[in-house]
């Protein structure tokens, strides 16, 4: 493999690592403040204990997200200096606003973590809300910068020069809204099912059932609602991609032949050399409808794009299938939760809890798959139709070592965080009322 491939691998790995912690850091504060609110209202000590336990989780996830995010802000320049040289001045606005939002979040976190019994109760609780809101704002802003790479706007590109720069137009690029909406919902789905699953596991093992049931209920609501909204946002995203990045859409669907009334493939094995897809389920005319809202619309196939502008089709197709498949599965899991609100005896069935244990990690798998779709699907471009990834990469050789360095560091860090969480849960279960 070449330097470029290792640089891409490193970017993918570090982003993939960061995104998990970023999602948790964005969403868990909401669980925490909800539990905190219930404590303030009912003075039920269980809620206080739950809030304190989640708070420790938030502190650990937040610091891991913050340091890996700091590393990413350097890596953007270290790995892709030519990209940053040209893109930096154009997409400065989301990044400077994101810096401000992150700052607000850190200040609020300082108040919240250290303010117990020192600050007025309501103000203290309110700082928890600020953590959540500024976290979500940071996420939206960073995704807007990514949206710009998919839908470059806010400049004129004349003879290889970026002129007439309009930072506001770049911030509000055509992709920002659909991408930000999809990612925010995804963060809620993944974190909610993840946290709910952890507590479901404790209930399954009959540990501290009362506390864990309360925790499960707070966490799952967010995810169940977000899972229902996600297909709507996914539809907006698909239509947007169909319009602006038809080649990405074709790769997502492994759609080779340009056709009117194009069928939708579910699953299938992609043979990139012969440009065929075998073992798939075919739904007639569905792709045309999903992409353009018209069963007979023409969908341009991969064969009609220049060869040197095609992304790796198989990876994008498989990742897309994984994302959609998991999304569908989680809607059903959400549905089962809502039904269980009526059928309370389900809560005594161990299969009910087993289900939520099994789906716990899936939301994060879907988030990773979704990022593979959007990032690998944009290749070979780093800025869609403007700059190729190979033109952006650092001239420094030896990215191989850099990749393995981060692989080692983050693997150790990830394992440590998992181990710490395990200790948190154990010590939470040992506490007596």
């Amino acid at each position: 493999m070449e330097n470029l491939d290792y640089a891409r691998l490193q970017m993918a790995f570090t982003l993939g690592f960061h995104i998990i912690f970023a999602c948790i850091g964005m969403v868990m504060p909401f669980f925490m403040v909800l539990s905190h609110h219930k404590w303030l209202k009912t003075r039920d000590p269980i809620y206080k204990r739950l809030t304190m336990a989640w708070l420790k989780g938030v502190a650990i996830f937040f610091v891991t997200g913050a340091v890996s995010g700091t590393a990413l802000s350097f890596e953007l320049g270290m790995l892709w200096p030519e990209f940053m040289k040209h893109a930096g001045p154009i997409i400065g606005m989301p990044f400077s606003l994101e810096g401000a939002a992150f700052f607000v979040e850190a200040i609020a976190l300082g108040f919240y973590l250290y303010g117990w019994n020192k600050l007025p109760e309501k103000f203290h609780w309110f700082t928890g809300i600020i953590i959540g809101i500024s976290g979500v704002a940071s996420g939206i802003l960073v995704v807007s910068a990514n949206g710009w790479m998919n839908a470059p706007s806010g400049f004129d590109y004349i003879n290889g020069e970026f002129t007439n720069i309009d930072p506001v137009a770049a911030l509000l690029n055509p992709a920002w809204f659909t991408q930000a909406l999809h990612m925010t919902l995804a963060a809620f789905v993944a974190t909610s099912f993840g946290v709910a699953g952890v507590h479901a596991f404790q209930i399954f093992r009959k540990r501290n059932v009362e506390l864990n049931t309360k925790a499960f209920k707070i966490a799952i609501v967010f995810g169940a609602i977000a899972a229902f909204l996600q297909p709507l946002s996914g539809d907006l995203s698909a239509k947007d991609v169909a319009e602006r990045q038809p080649v990405k859409l074709a790769a997502m669907e492994a759609h080779y032949e340009t056709k009117k009334g194009a069928p939708l493939y579910i699953g299938g094995i992609v043979d990139e050399e012969n440009r065929t897809v075998s073992h798939k389920i075919e739904i007639p005319k569905a792709l045309s409808f999903l992409a353009f809202g018209d069963f007979d619309a023409e969908v341009k196939g991969l064969n009609d794009f220049p060869d040197d502008e095609l992304p790796p089709v198989a990876i994008v197709h498989y990742a897309f299938q994984i994302m959609v498949g998991i999304g569908t599965l989680l809607i059903f899991a959400g549905l089962i939760y809502f039904i269980s609100l009526k059928k309370k005896n389900w809560l005594h069935s161990k299969y009910y809890w087993l289900l939520f244990i099994i789906v716990a990690p899936l939301g994060f798998v879907a988030v990773e798959a979704g990022w593979v779709v959007t990032e690998v699907g944009r290749q070979p471009w780093i800025i869609h139709q403007i700059m190729r990834t190979e033109e952006a990469v650092t001239p420094m050789p030896g990215m191989k070592y850099s990749f393995f360095f981060y692989l080692f560091l983050y693997t150790v860090l990830g394992l440590t965080v998992t181990w710490l969480m395990n200790r948190q849960i154990k010590s939470l279960n040992q506490t007596k009322d």
Binding site: A59, F74, F102, S427
Partner: protein
């Protein structure tokens, strides 16, 4: 508008050197304390730095964003040639950051504390050294900018400019500055015996700082480092250094007499003087390569970008600074020592 952006760049740099520096320095003080004093120092650091340490390090990100948005050509050279030392800085920031949180938020207090503590202490020492080395690299005059990758090896282009004695001296100087700041700050945060301990520390690190500063300038002068030569021949910079020398006397007195506030402000003014002297002599040519000087203001971002960034920074500043000020004030007034985690362990 450019001046607004420059102001925020220098302001973030100053705050990062001060607050981030005090944060690193706290770890260095802990590293150089006797085992007996370490526990005490650990608790004090948690109480004093805990609420704001996260915010302290965001100044670095703000600086980075300002650089790449407004000064893309300068940032491009910096980020390509500082790839390795900055990666080491990131390693340090990551390890000490997580170690600081893990040691206070781990649900079980056991043997793993040993690892968190040492990661935090050693990380706190090496990170400012690498940060200082990165700055030393920018001004050391050894960067070779070329497209000719045939005739230059990896070592010539990406190693020798940062891996040398001059850069190392700058790094050690910055680490000493951090330790000096932190120990002087901690004087005001402790009582009785502990305060005596920080007074000693503060005196020690002041001496180290002055000694290292002298060695750094002599070494740079004898080895014809252009930055140091220009620094010495610049009357304003010299005046600043002279003033900081004179101010050492009241600082020493304040430290000896355990004046909390006076010693703190005098320490901060030392840092401002040193930073100003260093930047003034060469501003805006902050990258010195083997054959030219690169100005920060070369190939600036377009006006629309600069104005937009300036407005964003002003808005951000209005939101953040009062919040940060309130945060510091809220927790600086709390003087009760607490030992938060030990009660929760079982």
């Amino acid at each position: 508008m450019l001046y607004v952006v420059l102001f925020f760049l220098l302001f973030s740099l100053l705050l990062y050197v001060l607050l981030g520096g005090a944060d690193f320095g706290a770890g260095i003080v802990e590293l150089f304390s006797s085992a007996k004093n370490r526990e005490q120092t650990k608790d004090t650091i948690y109480r004093v730095m805990g609420p704001i340490w996260e915010a302290n390090h965001i100044w670095l990100i703000i600086m980075l964003v300002i650089l790449w948005v407004a000064f893309p050509a300068y940032f491009n050279i910096m980020i390509i040639y500082l790839h390795i030392p900055l990666t080491l800085v990131l390693l340090g920031i990551t390890l000490r950051g997580v170690a600081f949180v893990f040691r206070h938020y781990d649900a079980v207090v056991d043997g793993s504390q040993f690892w968190y503590n040492w990661l935090f202490r050693i990380g706190s020492f090496v990170t400012p050294v690498f940060l200082g080395m990165s700055f030393g690299t920018l001004i050391g005059g050894k960067i070779i900018i070329t497209e000719d990758y045939e005739n230059y090896g990896f070592y010539d282009l990406f190693m020798q400019h940062w891996l040398n004695i001059f850069s190392l001296l700058v790094g050690l100087f910055y680490a000493a500055l951090c330790a000096f700041l932190a120990s002087t700050l901690l004087i005001g945060e402790a009582d009785g015996k502990a305060r005596k301990h920080y007074v000693k520390n503060s005196a020690f690190f002041t001496s180290v700082l002055v000694g290292l500063g002298f060695i750094l300038i002599s070494f740079g002068y004898l080895n014809n480092v252009k930055f140091i030569k220009d620094f010495i021949h610049n009357p304003v910079s010299l005046a600043c250094v002279a003033l900081s020398g004179v101010l050492l006397i009241p600082l020493w007195k304040a430290i000896k007499k355990e004046y909390r506030i006076a010693s703190r402000y005098l320490a901060i003014s030392q840092v401002i003087l040193i930073l100003f002297a260093a930047l003034y002599a060469h501003f805006p040519y902050i990258i010195i390569t083997s054959d030219k000087e690169v100005s920060l203001l070369e190939n600036l971002a377009p006006d629309a970008t600069i104005s937009n960034l300036a407005i964003m920074l002003l808005i951000g500043g209005f939101i953040i600074l009062p919040g940060l000020f309130h945060l510091m004030r809220s927790f600086n007034m709390i003087k009760v020592l607490e030992k938060p985690q030990k009660n929760n362990s079982k």
